[in-house]
């Protein structure tokens, strides 16, 4: 697979995972998966529970190490050993409830662990506030104050804050793990707007979900996993919600 850098595809590849294998004890969680995301592309990663979606993403975000396989980021082979390393490359993962501290303000959350400081480690609150509002506005989220606590925001707004954080820190690839789960219809639509905005900013997105009705309008391409295997990798124009649904529920065929 070293021919990657010279294959000369029309669209630039951002991340490419080749023959990824992962075992948990005797469970073969990922059975040689090839997965690619191109620049400014929104990929819907779909599949039933236990299909291996989360495991694949955790390998990409540095949470798990793959037992076999290679990962290329912007054409270079990388060995993503920690979430910090993934973030340095520009891969940001937005998990459902794990992303934010509910009793801290918006700006303190956006800069959590990466606070801008003036001297002796004292926070530059003014720049934190200003940059927070800027980052929120860039995804089309207009909140009253950077001092508002996360617990006072709606579920959709919380996702927005986490996405704005990824954007501010110059993510090239944002991984959204079930971003619309437990959200109202209106809030889910808001999150889908954020995703469109990310694409417009030139950022690639991996959208993991069960909900085909949410992912279908936003994604350019779909990757379907079943029991640790990739069973489909298909452009939106070549498929439909019903086709995808059939793929997800169909048992994997060994031919």
């Amino acid at each position: 697979m070293s021919s990657f850098s010279t294959d000369g595809k029309s669209e630039k590849s951002l991340v490419k995972m080749v023959s990824i294998e992962k075992w948990f004890g005797k469970v073969h969680a990922l059975e040689g998966i090839d997965f690619e995301v191109r620049c400014s592309e929104v990929v819907g990663l779909v599949g039933d529970n236990g299909a291996g979606k989360s495991t694949l993403i955790k390998v990409l975000s540095g949470y798990h190490l793959a037992d076999k396989g290679e990962i290329y980021f912007e054409g270079k082979k990388v060995n993503i050993a920690s979430s910090l390393h993934a973030r340095k490359l520009g891969i940001e993962t937005v998990y459902q409830e794990q992303a934010l501290a509910p009793n801290l303000s918006i700006s303190r959350n956006i800069f959590m662990g990466r606070e801008p400081v003036r001297s002796l480690g004292f926070m530059d609150k003014k720049s934190m506030d200003r940059e927070s509002m800027k980052a929120l506005q860039s995804i089309g989220l207009h909140l009253r104050s950077p001092d508002a606590l996360i617990t006072m925001l709606s579920g959709g707004e919380r996702q927005g804050v986490a996405i704005a954080r990824a954007l501010h820190f110059k993510a090239k690839l944002v991984i959204l793990d079930e971003p619309t789960i437990a959200l109202s219809v209106r809030e889910a639509r808001q999150v889908l707007e954020f995703i469109k905005q990310l694409k417009r900013e030139g950022i690639s997105v991996i959208f993991i979900t069960h909900n085909l009705y949410h992912v279908f309008p936003s994604a350019d391409r779909f990757v379907v996993l079943t029991r640790g295997e990739k069973i489909a990798d298909i452009q939106k124009k070549d498929t439909s919600i019903d086709d995808l649904f059939e793929l997800i529920v169909k048992p994997p065929s060994h031919n």
Binding site: A101, R108, A148, M152
Partner: protein
């Protein structure tokens, strides 16, 4: 929820000033509005209802001012640790342990300033141990520090044989060291008060304005999120444990100088009183919520409540009942106010 962009850009200076004043107010009242109000109400009640208005007698006020910082300074550390999501029950042992170390060094002819730093260093070490047991052993700090509290207390009792050790034989009265720690500024304000305020200001600035403070809140509020954002939550907690130990060591020596004699029972009961002070000051038992100002008022409130009840001749054993009742009422009040504030926004 929608803000007009143009309004934001041309914010008139008057609004900015009002905003700054509001921020200052927030700093002092954050999560502690209820505490401050009840604190003031308590003072009024005690002024009117203690016999001969003894509560506001200068002698009583001076006694209170010398006494309160002992618990107060320990509570500042304990409260900050609680914001990071952990407890320290061992303060009531670290305190006399450091005091004992100080006396031993003094007896060995070592300079008191150096001895003080050694006592604080021992406190920090015991705090480090608490922290390591908690984060490396993955056990609740409530249990870890319950264990170290009992262990070190046993060691202290056996080694010191619980004999009091007077310090006058090794330490001349009226030395400048003593003045700095427990003297009186202008013959009126006890130095202990100054130390309480100084420690509160230092910790307040660190907790509310330094990035480390943000890590403390984040660690206590959502450890997983903090860790995912690259914060070393284990280190944050361990540092908080060390701050508690250092402050307990300082108070051990400060109290020793006031009492004039080492007692193995110094600081007995501080572990729960410090938690009570923090909780009364609006600190959450779950971590992530609280403020130094709140803990400061909380410690004052606990001490004033105790003092006022003594002056009102409530039987000593009855005082405990009142304090217990007060803690519960405060938490209910704080929780209610917090919920009201949420709904208002």
């Amino acid at each position: 929820m929608v803000t007009n962009k143009k309004d934001k850009e041309k914010m008139p200076s008057g609004v900015a000033v009002a905003g700054r004043a509001k921020k200052l107010l927030n700093l002092f009242s954050y999560q502690a509005v209820g505490t401050l109000l009840v604190f003031l109400a308590l003072i009024l009640v005690f002024i009117f209802f203690t016999p001969h208005h003894l509560f506001v007698d200068p002698r009583n006020i001076k006694a209170l001012a010398k006494l309160t910082p002992d618990l107060g300074i320990v509570a500042l550390g304990v409260g900050m640790l609680m914001i990071s999501g952990e407890f320290d029950l061992s303060v009531s042992t670290v305190l006399p342990f450091s005091s004992y170390i100080f006396v031993l060094l003094l007896r060995a002819g070592i300079n008191p300033v150096f001895s003080l730093f050694m006592a604080m260093g021992v406190g920090a070490l015991l705090g480090l141990l608490n922290g390591l047991i908690t984060v490396k052993g993955h056990i609740p700090s409530f249990i870890a520090t319950l264990g170290t509290m009992m262990f070190w207390r046993g060691v202290l009792y056996v080694h010191s044989r619980m004999w009091p050790i007077g310090i006058r034989a090794y330490f001349p009265a009226g030395s400048s060291f003593e003045h700095v720690l427990i003297g009186e500024i202008g013959g009126v304000v006890p130095a202990q008060v100054i130390w309480f305020v100084v420690f509160a200001l230092i910790l307040g600035v660190v907790l509310h304005f330094h990035k480390f403070g943000n890590w403390v809140y984040a660690t206590g509020d959502n450890k997983e999120a903090a860790r995912a954002m690259g914060i070393n939550t284990d280190r944050v907690k361990t540092i908080c444990f060390m701050i508690v130990g250092t402050l307990s060591g300082f108070v051990g020596v400060m109290q020793l100088l006031r009492l004039g004699s080492f007692a193995a029972t110094q600081g007995l009961g501080f572990e729960l009183k410090a938690i009570a002070a923090s909780v009364v000051g609006g600190t959450s038992l779950m971590g992530g919520i609280g403020s130094i100002a709140g803990i400061f008022w909380g410690a004052l409130t606990i001490q004033i409540l105790e003092n006022g009840l003594i002056l009102m001749r409530v039987p000593v054993f009855g005082i405990s009942a009142f304090i217990g009742l007060a803690v519960i009422l405060f938490v209910v009040l704080n929780t209610y106010m917090r919920r009201r504030m949420m709904m208002m926004r």
